[in-house]
Symmetry: C2
Subunit: 135 residues, 2 copies
Amino acid sequence: MLKISTRCRYGLLAMVELGQCYGQAPVSAQEIFKKQHIPKLYLQQLLVKLRRNGLVESIRGAKGGFILRKDPKQIKILDIVKAVEGPVQLISCTKQNKDKCCSKIKECLTRPVWVELHEVVNKVLNERTLYDLMR
Amino acid sequence: MLKISTRCRYGLLAMVELGQCYGQAPVSAQEIFKKQHIPKLYLQQLLVKLRRNGLVESIRGAKGGFILRKDPKQIKILDIVKAVEGPVQLISCTKQNKDKCCSKIKECLTRPVWVELHEVVNKVLNERTLYDLMR
DNA sequence: TTGATACTTGACAAAAATAGTCATATATAG
DNA sequence: CTATATATGACTATTTTTGTCAAGTATCAA
Ligand code: FES
Ligand code: FES
């Protein structure tokens, strides 16, 4: 059904929250969790992924929390999605990996639609930045 | 990860096969299954869905099989995807159903990206027809 | 120094969706 | 009559998604 996963939605929600406080004090998982009603421990996980992918910085201890490592204008939505979910691949048959999908990729008549979808989705995610979502 | 399901891929593969033989004798599940290496019983299921949604007609008995009910030019890829998978909804918060997604849809800052993705995906699937995929 | 706050890590578990199968029945050509 | 084909609904297995847990580390502030 091509549904956007909660991982993605929560991840982006968290990033928007951090974006709103960019330049200010760190925001704790606690605060995001309360404001957005995201399961706390699940959110923690996502924040760790965002950190490991260099999108946020974590500050431990009391008064700690998370802050963005870059200006929201520099953060593409695609970066966020990739961080929490891995690459956005609508089909598994790529130029490198020719034999995963249908029987014979060379002759696969259906592939063009899926490729087009793949490209259009990645394009949108790659063009929009976190800043575009902030008020 | 927004991966295209096998349901979708197999469904479209089957429809393309039927498209190639449009106007000719019915094509049996057997033939499609052999040509495209789709699990036979799974394919049957998908064909039944396509029939129930009015995309194909089934002819029982020996020399039976499936044929398209419309010209490939009249069949949108979106129709096929809808038939085998249901509506393509990237997010669950629609105009009718305002409270399923994030806490407060009115204030949801992340929604615009997901809506844009949703629209762009539906647009592509709605513009392309089965005919566009045939050689 | 001590306690409260907050992130870290890796494993674990429940739930949902996806992918595929089976048995039984029905229909039709030849 | 028989071989070929679809119809149907239930059933199972696998994978992915969506969380949770426990034990640990780091920092601030009183
Ligand atoms: S080969 Fe990948 S969709 Fe057909
Ligand atoms: S309300 Fe649906 S994405 Fe936020």
